[in-house]
Amino acid sequence: MKIVDIFAVIDNTLYSVVFDVTQERSEFSRLFDFWNDAEQLRNFFEKNKEDLNDTYWEGITIEEAINKTREEAKDLERLLLSYAKGENPKENLSMLFKPLSNKVEKKYEKDKAKVSGKKTWLRLYAVRIDVNLFVVCGGAIKLRKTMNDRDYLKIELEKLDITQKYLRENDADELDFVEL
């Protein structure tokens, strides 16, 4: 898997990579279509029924899980759309994205965006370039606490690394960068 392009979602703020395996569609666009597709969501939850049955999710059914995902996606999309249209001039995406873990990676941080307040499972993964500048490289319905014991989450870690490398590989001053 490799990056073939980068699209702007919100100019000067939010970007999204395009992988060669997604037929020229940005990860950002692909994810919101997935989270709004009842059939694809059913396939996902049937495949990952075991994770859904975890006591943490309090016996949620597949149908409830599908509806919950779309509701979360709706909230997240509306929020990002309002940023894209400049309806939140006093706020910025830095308030939305949180560090993925305690591990701080110097200039680039792996970030996730989630709708706060509730028990949420939707995640957007991004690489932070600057204070209010992010490159989205994937996302998931995160049914597990960790990201390294399921293929559908491991691939997101891989995409974060690919994106990070892509940005660095195109930068001749990589070492200077690390020193900042």
């Binding site: 940005s26 709004n36 597709d37 999309e77 759309l81």
Partner: protein, 156 residues
């Protein structure tokens, strides 16, 4: 310096119009999309159940056959973004033996008088008293009526 180089590169990026247009479309059409999505989820549930018990129709192909339409249309419908006709919804419901939508009973507009054993009463003139009254509680000095705004159509 390096950040600036990346920024310069990002500034040349093409705008992802696909997401912007789709997000706007989903926002503008949210009300009927909510219903379409829930219907799709319900149909998916019945098909899955039929598959377990080996009942017809148990998959998209069989549902398309029963509906006399293309499997492509059923696939589109099951995504939950199809603006369905009432006729289509009713046909689907009959084939799947499930109620997909229902309309609440008609509202009654009239004055209602409540008389209590304590020997007092209060007349409440209401614009809309319907079966949607969810909760009422009485106290000696007051009566509280809570009722939600009318819903014309709901997904079963």
């Amino acid at each position: 310096m390096s950040i600036n180089k990346i920024k310069q590169k990002l500034e040349k990026a093409t705008l992802d119009k696909e997401w912007l247009e789709k997000a706007e479309w989903r926002k503008v059409n949210q009300d009927w999309l909510d219903i379409s999505f829930k219907i799709a989820v319900k149909i998916g549930e019945v098909l899955a159940e039929n598959k377990k018990t080996n009942k017809f129709p148990k998959n998209q192909a069989e549902l398309a056959e029963a509906m006399n339409c293309s499997p492509q249309y059923i696939s589109k419908l099951l995504k939950g973004e199809e603006n369905l006709q009432i006729e289509t919804i009713v046909r689907l419901g009959k084939i799947l033996k499930v109620t997909l939508i229902q309309v609440p009973p008609a509202e009654i507009k009239r004055d209602v008088s409540f008389v209590f054993s304590q020997g007092w009463h209060k007349i409440i003139k209401t614009q809309k008293i319907s079966s949607q009254i969810k909760n009422y509680e009485t106290r000696r000095s007051e009566m509280v009526l809570d009722f939600e705004g009318s819903t014309l159509l709901s997904v079963a």
